[in-house]
Symmetry: C2
Subunit: 199 residues, 2 copies
């Protein structure tokens, strides 16, 4: 059936959201229309405010309402001379949840991919080099996902850090804490045995 033009438009635009197909969009549209309409208006206002108000922190490139994000502007965190390089803003959120990292971040918003035409400037490596040259970091933690592109990006950042005599680390990989041996895939198990540690 053809819905009314306004309803068609709503259903089509809701499909901009990730993981939302036509069926889900229809369900969402009917829920918005059938419920308190002010909720829909609040949703629209929040989307609009976020689209125009959230920019990239000019220091770490993480999403921020201000020109410099709260983490970068915190003196306490600036004094920790450890920089953690991540791929996405969501990675920052997840690392912050652990409450175990007190340094600052640098967000790439992607990884190097010659096939997709994503070069060093697109992920801010020029900006990263400026940071590394200006501040006396003692350590750079490269927390990227392991993939061909991730490893390539990791390699380039390692080179950059070495140029300024900064030690480079990466989070350990292996069997997740609490997991059973027999639930592990072969590659993880192979890796964790090859990289076994003294107790």
């Amino acid at each position: 059936m053809q819905y009314s033009p306004l309803l068609e438009e709503l259903i089509s635009k809701l499909q901009y959201l990730p993981g939302v197909g036509k069926k889900t969009a229809q369900r969402m549209a009917f829920a918005l229309l059938g419920g308190d309409r002010r909720r829909g208006e609040e949703l629209a206002a929040a989307v609009n405010a976020a689209m125009s108000g959230i920019k990239r922190c000019s220091c770490c490139r993480n999403y921020s309402d201000e020109d410099i994000c709260p983490i970068c502007s915190s003196v306490k965190r600036q004094n920790e001379m450890v920089l953690c390089v991540v791929e996405n803003p969501s990675d920052v959120a997840i690392i912050e949840q652990t409450g175990q990292f007190f340094g600052t971040y640098f967000v790439l918003h992607g990884k190097i991919s010659p096939l997709e035409g994503i070069g060093p400037e697109d992920i801010g490596l020029d900006r990263l080099e400026t940071l590394l040259s200006e501040r006396k970091y003692t350590e750079v933690i490269i927390a990227l996902n392991s993939s061909v592109e991730g490893n390539m990006t990791s390699f380039m950042i390692t080179k950059l850090a070495q140029k300024y005599n900064i030690s480079v680390t990466t989070p350990s990989r292996g069997i997740p804490v609490g997991s059973e041996l027999d639930a592990m895939d072969e590659s993880t198990l192979t890796y964790s045995f090859t990289n076994r540690k003294n107790i």
Copy 2:
């Protein structure tokens, strides 16, 4: 972690959508921020336009951009003296997809539920009675889902229709076309055997 206020607001308001929890809302928010921001603005505009522009057809109570919806204002459909009563606007959409019904609809937007304080006026039964008294319908199809509330609502509509000597029908229930006998639940099988038809 605490997100920035604008991002927190976006994530919280996205959870107004049905089936969207915190994790999904975060993923949606990051997708909107990371993609073309115009898409987010288009989504917000579509939601706003729908919230303020979509009302209930003053004839059948289905969602409509106009005062009278296209189905109710179609002379061809007005001439079919069959009225189909459904619970939700989505039911109209799904019946229209079959292309087999040529009459008009009446949308209840709910069912009678004394427990939730939903009475006959809340689902427009007064408006339905006016319709039944004014137009010379030959048949009312009651297409509600079967539940205690659905059956109660169905009973009241049947009484109304009988008052104006209109015959009442309901879509047949039984084994879905193409389904296997051994895939059926006991109640459906019991029902379809009790209500068997001559071939």
